[in-house]
Symmetry: C2
């Protein structure tokens, strides 16, 4: 039998640009198709990537998307999505979907929350209704949504929290991970016809490592979580308010405690250069609101290399931050008043193939809703092309 | 040489459903292609139909769109659109475009306006800047936009205005029409290379008949305007606040003074049943914000006939209003909470082929911008399919 996770290429250590690189090219098999890694997941918070249809996502090159359990649980509710035949059918997206556990949003969005041993109690920011989310319930919901990849419920404290708080969060995360794994394993051991997941399809479950910027806590958390043998590992609690320079050494350290034969997902990252950097540390999967949110604020990416084929991801040996291979421009800038060229003349996205900066600027300034769609298409295309180029560069041994 | 306007079919007077019908099927040739009439123009106010790309418009079946001179004049300004190569290039719509004169918006939107003999002075509602729009200037702007069909500047009073006011408006409209025709004719008589219109392409100019709900004023205006021999005639000043029942006899009367060998355009109309009624009176061209605005408010159309092939436009002999051949439903209605069927199970639009009522309801209620696009696609498809069915029914002698 073909294994779920296959690594095709690890960077040879001797390559010029790849010194110390842990970048790897791999493929993850899910119930709704294979995903080439490293890859980036556009975020379909409420069963839609803002402004885009599934057809457009496919055209842009998206292979896997992320949807938010917390939002879907509150609206329209799991029963409705289950009734529609699961999330894939509901939103008409045929490819793989990863759902988060809902934990992160309970901590960042809910009006009020209280962590208990059994789970987290919270009241919805929409109507104040109270709910209890347990690790078991988080699995049940994600099963009903029909997610290809599910995530264990965790406690994700803010980056500035004390050592004590972050230690406590990691301990609860481990306790909850054990319970999540138990209900997951019970269901997976059933014959297909009796599995509760939609259509009986095989689902994957990722554990989350916590521990903030404290290497000892990360090591402990990584050892504990990996002892439960999940299908993949998510690194939670990074880029949540801590100083970025403190995160990178800890990300590197955390990865060293993860098995190399399982995919690694750096939650919530990141800017293009952060993604490149994380890939070099051995990360396989990413999600971030940045490209879509930036688009809605008129910020778009422009490649600074004229030839995509010449594109190299280089590192500044001192800071380990790659040279900027792109610019961010604001489409409303008055210097584009008479700029009839596309956002990026080397870009093959629908927006750049059909519309000029001056037209997009006009739509954006007059608040035409089409502006946000066209800019979103471009930014996601930029991200997904970046992932493709990253994979190509790993293949060539250049990363 | 093939004539610009060709009538293919007039309803034989003896047909059962077509008694007294003046419906006709025809074709109008423009610089950017032919338009089958009767037809409906989606409104691309600011060089974009709200939420849609030109590709989607084509897919929906749009043959011609309308763009608003007033809005484009203020933002982004005519120079920019001219610089882009004209409106077609600017917004990437290859088909015919009709632009209005800007007059209607000056009267309905501008912060302040004053009608003078030479034109109308107004101050922009955006920044208060003052402008003078003359009949000559309106032609120049529309030439620079590269419109396929241009409209003469008119004065369009509200429907409740006094006979005196409406008479005055019609008189000014005639005086301005003469001046518009003059600059238009001067340009058209030049060899292609010296014409100011973009690319030297042949543009068409429609005159506007005014006169409110007063048959004598309509007759006078129609006789005056048609004496100038335009490429087509627009009926302005209907559905602008007057009682609808007072309009229909006057529309019928006005049409009787228009030449049958020129297209007729009923500005700003209307609801689906108004369109059917107007076609039967001999109208060829329509525009209206209703389908797109309704979509943005969650109101969508559903055909009430299960078989489109059985579809007949019938009239109630008393009121001359066709039986309702559709329903309007509100997608947010709680009765669609578990309705997994499409908006209209007999509809072939992208939205109905791919998404359920419950999904659209969810998107609409959670304010996902995709909702407005998908509902707009459906409503415009409904309108443009209606126009197609109208043409088919004229062909069959059923209208």
């Amino acid at each position: 039998m073909e294994s779920v996770f296959q690594i095709f290429k690890k960077i040879p250590a001797c390559r010029q640009a790849g010194k110390n690189s842990k970048a790897r090219k791999s493929r993850l098999k899910t119930a709704h198709g294979k995903v080439n890694l490293p890859n980036f997941m556009p975020i379909a918070t409420r069963a839609a990537v803002k402004n885009l249809t599934s057809d457009e996502l496919k055209e842009i090159g998206a292979e896997i998307i992320l949807s938010n359990t917390y939002h879907l649980f509150l609206r329209p509710g799991v029963e409705i999505i289950k009734g529609a035949g699961g999330l894939h059918q509901f939103m008409n997206w045929p490819g793989p979907i990863l759902t988060d556990s809902g934990g992160y949003q309970v901590f960042s969005l809910a009006k009020w929350r209280k962590i208990k041993k059994e789970g987290v109690e919270f009241s919805s920011e929409i109507d104040g209704q109270k709910f209890l989310l347990t690790p078991e319930k988080a699995i049940e919901i994600q099963k009903d949504l029909g997610a290809d990849i599910m995530i264990c419920l965790d406690v994700c404290p803010a980056g500035q929290e004390s050592y004590e708080e972050i230690k406590k969060a990691a301990d609860i995360t481990f306790a909850w991970a054990k319970r999540a794994k138990k209900v997951f394993a019970r269901n997976e051991s059933l014959p297909e016809s009796r599995r509760s997941a939609f259509g009986g399809k095989k689902q994957l479950l990722f554990g989350i490592v916590q521990g903030g910027i404290y290497p000892d806590l990360r090591e402990k958390s990584a050892r504990e979580i990996t002892s439960l043998s999940f299908d993949g590992y998510a690194l939670g609690g990074f880029f949540v308010g801590e100083e970025e320079k403190n995160s990178w050494p800890v990300i590197r350290k955390t990865i060293s405690f993860l098995p190399s034969d399982k995919p690694r997902y750096l939650m919530g990252a990141g800017r293009p250069e952060q993604i490149v950097k994380a890939v070099k540390l051995g990360i396989d999967l990413f999600d971030c609101v940045i490209p879509t949110r930036n688009a809605r604020h008129g910020l778009v990416y422009v490649n600074t290399k004229s030839q995509i084929t010449n594109y190299k991801l280089q590192t500044n040996s001192k800071s380990q931050i790659p040279n900027k291979f792109y610019e961010e421009i604001h489409i409303a800038n008055s210097k584009y008043t008479k700029d009839f060229s596309p956002v990026d003349k080397n870009c093959s996205c629908f927006t750049c193939q059909n519309f000029s900066r001056v037209y997009l600027r006009h739509l954006y300034l007059t608040k035409e809703p089409l502006a946000l769609r066209l800019l979103t298409i471009h930014n996601l295309y930029f991200y997904l092309s970046l992932m493709k180029r990253i994979r190509e560069n790993i293949e060539l041994g250049n990363l």
